[in-house]
């Protein structure tokens, strides 16, 4: 069967997956079309109501990339505090890491 990828312990068939996704999209489209008909794009209807305040400008409302995953990096602060300083940008350090890695691999391969 075309599209059937055997992985040794199971299989993956993207064509079946696509058929299921297509069916889900059709159902979603039907639900969408069953919605209210009096919605009008580009009118007052689509403007957010902010307790009577003016809508902020586009540049003020966009969440910038630097604001995302703050919690993740904050939670792993100890890890990042050690990892990021290792990336010094200094060429001598890069060579030192190469030598360290080379020696470790050499010792492991020779001894084990």
């Amino acid at each position: 069967m075309i599209g059937l990828l055997s992985t040794g312990y199971g299989f993956w068939n993207p064509i079946v997956w696509l058929v299921v996704i297509a069916a889900a999209l059709i159902v979603s489209f039907i639900i969408l079309k069953a919605g209210r008909k009096d919605y009008s794009k580009d009118t007052e209807q689509v403007k957010p109501y902010l307790s009577g305040n003016d809508e902020p400008s586009a540049s003020d409302t966009h969440v910038r990339g630097g604001n995302l995953y703050y919690g993740f990096t904050r939670a792993l602060k100890g890890y990042y505090d050690k990892l990021i300083p290792l990336h010094t940008g200094i060429l001598n350090d890069y060579i030192a890491w190469f030598l360290i890695g080379l020696v470790i691999i050499f010792v492991v391969v020779i001894l084990i």
Binding site: Y9, V63, L68, L83, F98
Partner: protein, 522 residues
């Protein structure tokens, strides 16, 4: 026609080199012809590579002896020193040729537009063609010293290309770091070659493979090859120069540098499986490869998450994805001498790792081209300063999203198929490794959703109101890679059966390679 077909391996190098050497002449005397000539040269080189690959996949390995007739022996005893320059292209080399050819064409079309207003195009296209020749040579040669020469061509051309077009010296700094680190790696490879030559009086890979035995000298050479080529591939802890170079290089160049670094992976796998032929402690070395892979996956993705420079972020993801390839092939190496385990999951792990090499070249190339198109139009690298570009660059946004979903291993794109093979086979070997791989995929998805949101979503930003869609040649380059990302995702079995399985088989059964060169053994 038969002359061309009979000499395809020589043309693999001759065509891009001929194109490279004529490009400055066109630039000097017929500047309008320079870019079309460079495109033609890359198309011709890719056509030779693809034809060679198809011939190998249909008819078996090609052994080509430079300067010798068809009936001449591949290994000639010349006063006791068997030296001949030969190309040996088996299914693994053919697989790498396909990847390099496709990406080189897509990137060249892209560069035709992205470099249009730039200076120094003659040298730029010359270096691009030299980089292509370096990659083709690395994955085709059957001679260790040739391999070193093409490795150097690859590294130096790439370093020179990195130095283009970023003001303030930052590109030159990235290029110097890349050049120094790769030159040291190249010297380590040369030292390893010297050690093997001192033992076996030959540079022919097959001839060395037929005689090699584990001793302190050959094992030292093995470690030198492994560390130096892992650095070329951008594996942790040898990865430091990779993000520095990738983040400042022209985006099209970075896409081809992905394939250039994968030629380093080719070198590792060719040396471990073919030249050394499994005569070392495969479990120990396999675990070394696995640990390099796990470190690359975890450190690569966690370093990507806090990045603000979009290209640096992509570069760390390139490091992370290299880990998957090392993990898959490392598992296969660990069980190389355990026939039951190799049959149960080792071969699938190998196929998954190799499939991921090809997939990564396609989707990461696509991501660099899409991000390069954004930078081309906005002149901004920081994700903190972008937003709402999906309103103006709809096609670029779609291509980026496809690439992002593919790298995160979301079905039905190609990244999912190869990652699934790696997950399942690795789980059978060691469940912890599979869990780490899956967690890294989740973090990859998180990271790319951040980038997608930061670049393309949100309201239209006033400062980007005039931004237009990328030029058509750049879109064409992205379309080529997108087609492979989607088609290989929907029909992974066709590609695995036709290309990946033969490539994995070529590595796991090195006897085919050896007998092709040695004619059944010395």
């Amino acid at each position: 026609m038969s002359v061309i077909l009979d000499n395809l391996p020589a043309l693999l190098i001759a065509v891009p080199l001929f194109g490279a050497f004529l490009t400055p002449l066109f630039g000097r005397f017929l500047p309008k012809v320079r870019t079309p000539w460079a495109i033609f040269a890359v198309l011709a080189s890719a056509a030779v590579a693809i034809t060679t690959a198809i011939r190998v996949l249909i008819s078996g390995p090609i052994v080509y002896v430079f300067g010798a007739g068809a009936s001449a022996p591949a290994v000639l005893d010349s006063a006791g020193i068997p030296i001949r320059i030969i190309f040996t292209i088996d299914a693994f080399g053919a697989f790498m040729l396909l990847s390099a050819a496709i990406v080189s064409v897509a990137v060249m079309l892209y560069l035709a537009a992205s470099q249009k207003r730039r200076s120094g195009k003659s040298a730029f296209y010359t270096l691009y063609l030299l980089l292509t020749a370096g990659i083709f040579g690395m994955v085709s040669t059957g001679d260790l010293f040739n391999f070193f020469v093409f490795l150097e061509i690859n590294s130096l051309a790439a370093a020179a290309l990195v130095s283009y077009h970023r003001k303030g010296g930052i590109a030159v700094e990235g290029a110097i770091k890349y050049a120094v680190v790769n030159t040291i790696g190249g010297l380590m490879v040369l030292a390893g070659i010297g050690l093997l030559y001192s033992q076996y009086d030959t540079l022919n890979m097959a001839l060395i493979a037929s005689q090699i035995a584990p001793n302190p000298v050959t094992i030292t050479a093995l470690v030198l090859f492994l560390a130096a080529l892992a650095m070329k591939a951008g594996s942790v802890p040898f990865h430091f120069a990779t993000p520095d170079a990738y983040s400042v290089a022209p985006s099209g160049v970075t896409a081809l540098m992905i394939v250039a670094s994968q030629a380093g992976l080719y070198g590792i796998f060719r040396i471990l499986f073919t030249v050394y032929n499994g005569v070392f402690n495969t479990v120990t070395v396999g675990w070394v490869v696995i640990i390099l892979g796990v470190l690359s996956m975890v450190i690569g993705v966690t370093m990507a998450l806090p990045q603000k420079d979009v290209k640096r972020l992509l570069a760390y993801h390139a490091v992370s994805q290299t880990g998957y390839m090392l993990l898959g092939v490392g598992v296969a190496l660990c069980v190389l001498h355990d026939a039951a385990a190799l049959s149960a999951y080792g071969t699938t792990a190998m196929e998954g790792g190799l499939f991921h090499i090809f997939n990564h070249a396609m989707y990461k190339g696509l991501l660099f081209l899409a991000v390069g198109a954004v930078i081309y139009r906005t002149g901004v690298w920081s994700i903190n300063k972008m937003g709402g570009l999906g309103h103006n660059m709809k096609w670029t946004m779609i291509f980026f999203l496809i690439g992002a979903l593919a790298i995160a291993g979301i079905p039905p794109f190609n990244g999912f198929a190869s990652k699934l093979m790696i997950y399942e086979s690795t789980f059978a070997f060691n469940p912890v490794l599979a869990i780490i791989a899956m967690v890294v995929s989740i973090l990859t998805l998180a990271s790319f959703m951040k980038v997608f949101h930061s670049l393309f979503l949100g309201p239209k930003q006033p400062e980007y109101a005039e931004v237009k869609e990328a030029p058509k040649p750049m879109i064409a380059g992205m379309i080529i890679l997108t087609v492979f990302v989607v088609v290989l995702g929907i029909f992974p079995d066709l590609f695995v059966n036709a290309v990946i399985s033969p490539a994995a088989d070529a590595l796991l059964n090195s006897g085919t390679y050896l007998s092709a060169v040695l004619g059944g053994g010395l």
